[in-house]
Amino acid sequence: MKKQFIRPYGDTSADGKMQLSFSLPVKPDAHGKEAARLLLKQMGFDDIDVCGMRDLNEGFTHFIAYASTSTAVDPANIKVKVVETAVMDMEETDAFVKEHIGRTLTVVGACIESDAHTVGIDAIMNMKGYSGRFGLERYKSFNAINMGAQVTSEELLARARAENADAILVSQVVTQKNIHIKNLTRLIELAEAERLRDKMLFICGGPRISHELAIELGYDAGFGTGSYSTDVASYIAIVMAERIRKGS
């Protein structure tokens, strides 16, 4: 059987058409437009149509372009790490924990270090939840503690230790200059130094966080855009049940 490579689809099968938008430090004139075209050419694009050019002032111009790529992706080369546990709704998770764990699970969450944006941690933990899914505080099977924003790694770990937590949830929304990587790394390093790393699940989340990145940083799981409380709760319940089963 012939292998099907993956190539962009504009309006014809495998035409390779892509939509591009970027700004250059050039004037909005023929010269600038040519600079945009050459840039795309160097990137390997063909059939380049720079269809939009907008003056951004102060010597900058915004370009919108369509172009074809001749590159393609071999499906056999795609390897991604995703959270593979099943997703259950709140009632199912509560029932699952009751049956397989037999006690409530304690989760301590926070938006750590300099990050002041609680929107992510709130969406997962607050009673009200987000997008029709209640947060962990609403679950009968969870004792959810949301410490809020700008919590230092030390404070978070101290609380997790005091509460004998089953899982730590960390949210990072601000990602400028990779500050989220620095913050998440710091937490894990401290956890290791304090011998807490293996005592609980470490889970991170945020718009720029993937499961793969989380694993790389030494976390158990990562949840990015499009994740809900149900994903996180199911993951914790299933993994904890697994650990308890193996441990006993």
Binding site: S23, S114, A116, P207, T225
Partner: protein, 518 residues
């Protein structure tokens, strides 16, 4: 004309309740001060600069006085006394405290008339400087015309003030009327204001006096070129509300985020500290002719925008009353709200229209600050751009004062040059397209929009009456606001609050209260 049939008796009841809530803090405003208020006084007396390790000189002086429990008279008298006895400038005194262990609380008192003469000289000088900045702003508005309604407000947030200045100028030339420099994310919890020009920050750029000056100068240049006065704004929030307000007054910022309760609810700053600090910082804003803006949008990003719509109205009324107590005029109150209803909800636009009209009509003289969709902005930039257009439509239709433009890349990154430009293009197109549409429309008397606005107002009134009966601190401790419990002895910064002595003296507060007639 697009107008709600509001129940005036309900409006009066809501306002009376808000007045009762805010009117019960005389004991705090008259009896206490805070470390940042005292640092503000020193800054207004002309103390500026920092030690080699970055510690600002106002902190050097106040830390010493606070540690030895000698702030009760206020820092002004202590510093003036030291300046006279040591024959030093303010900065020299601060440096001597650090380098030579000078203890200014242990100095004998200089003659009272000399202290007062020095203080009134320094007070006159700074008050004249701030009035001069106010006059300069008014002169530019006179020359170039008033700000558009709604004003186009965009943010810059590179972390580097010089990069910010380039982006701000580009945005201004494209049509922005107001430029906000977003602060570095950790700044609200710093109990000092960093010194000098800064080129690195996270999610924003530090608010410093030098950064204010650099940006003001850049915008003055564009204002002259474009024949349009470009306003500058920053955030007088966090643990240094009055200090940042003072720096804004000195460097001619035109608007400042200044919410009476934001720090308490969303940054866990102590309630007493925040209310004290907002009181003096708003006085400075008022004296400098700076428009304040409040942060009601935060209630809707943390809770459901339909269910909790009343908390916005309630907070606006409380913010209004606190602002009046500090001498802020209604035309300088940019009370806030936001377009944050779930776009999947049927008739979400009608809800937004009702809420926007309610804000507009409850505060007819105020330049209402309208915040864009953020909660339901996703990685789908095309959908976000469309939501931003609907938001701009409501803004123009209902005559909001300041339209804080949404960015299609909200939830992805701090705005790129092109993102900001597309947002301005979006707003300019819609504002032009529906410019006078509102004047042609009216609402059916018993229509959904009317009923919805009435419902929100009624819920807000009942809520405010409950808080008035309970007391603000007690209500906050119970989590009545934004579902967050904030006891008045908890949170950050309480150790920086102290009781004033009988002979406490803050020359700037006295002068401002007199001139603002409060």
């Amino acid at each position: 004309m697009l107008q709600l049939d509001l129940d005036i008796s309900l409006v009066d009841r809501a306002r009376a309740a808000a007045q009762k809530i805010t009117g019960s803090f005389g004991w705090l405003f008259e009896g206490y001060s805070s470390v940042t208020i005292e640092r503000t006084v020193l800054r207004l007396m002309g103390l500026d600069g920092a030690l080699k390790d970055g510690k600002p000189l106002p902190n050097v002086v106040i830390d010493q006085l606070h540690k030895s429990g000698s702030l009760g008279k206020g820092a002004a008298i202590r510093l003036a006394n030291a300046m006279l006895l040591q024959n030093m400038s303010a900065a020299e005194v601060a440096t001597a405290i650090n380098d030579q262990n000078l203890d200014i609380s242990a100095l004998p008192p200089a003659p009272a008339d000399e202290i007062h003469a020095l203080l009134s000289e320094l007070t006159d000088k700074m008050m004249a400087h701030i009035s001069g900045q106010k006059a300069k702003r008014e002169e530019m508005y006179q020359r170039f015309g008033e700000r558009r309604i709604p004003a186009i407000y965009v943010i810059v947030a590179t972390g580097n003030i010089y990069e910010d200045a380039v982006q701000a100028k580009a945005a201004a030339r494209e049509g922005a009327d107001v430029i906000a420099v977003i602060r570095s994310t950790a700044q609200s919890l710093l109990d000092y204001v960093p010194y000098g020009a800064t080129t690195s920050g996270f999610g924003g750029t530090f608010a410093t006096q030098e950064n204010f000056r650099i940006m003001r100068q850049a915008l003055d240049e564009v204002s002259e070129d474009e024949k349009r006065y470009i306003s500058l704004t920053n955030y007088a929030s966090g643990l240094c509300m009055p200090e940042i307000a003072a720096l804004g007054a000195m460097e001619r910022l035109d608007l400042m985020l200044n919410d009476a309760m934001y720090g308490i609810l969303f940054r866990d700053i102590n309630p007493r500290r925040t209310l004290l600090d907002q009181s003096f910082s708003r006085m400075i804003n008022a004296y400098a002719g700076i428009e304040i803006q409040t942060g009601e949008d935060n209630y809707l990003t943390t809770s459901d925008a339909v269910e909790k719509a009343y908390t916005v109205t309630a907070s606006q009324l409380i913010n209004e009353q606190f602002a009046l107590l500090s001498g802020v005029k209604p035309e300088k109150m940019g009370l806030g709200h936001a377009y944050e209803i779930d776009p999947e909800m049927e008739n979400s636009f009608s809800f937004e229209l009702a809420h926007a009209l309610l804000s507009r009509q409850l505060f007819p003289h105020s330049p209402i600050k309208y915040m864009p969709p953020t909660k339901f902005a996703s990685g789908n930039i095309f959908k976000t751009h469309l939501m931003d257009a609907m938001f701009n439509f409501v803004g123009q239709l209902t005559g909001q004062g300041v339209q804080l433009l949404g960015m299609m890349t909200e939830a992805i990154h701090t705005p790129h040059l092109a993102d900001r430009s597309l947002a301005i293009e979006n707003a300019k197109y819609i504002f032009k397209a529906v410019k006078d549409l509102g004047a042609n429309l009216s609402l059916a008397p018993d229509s959904f929009v009317n009923r919805r606005a009435h419902q929100v107002l009624e819920e807000a009134t009942l809520f405010l009456e409950k808080v008035a009966a309970d007391g603000l601190f007690s209500a906050m401790a119970k989590g009545e606001f934004a579902d967050i419990k904030r006891p008045d002895d908890g949170g950050k910064g309480l150790d920086g609050v102290f009781a004033k002595d009988e002979d406490y003296y803050n020359p700037f507060r006295e002068r401002m209260m007199k001139e603002l007639k409060i």
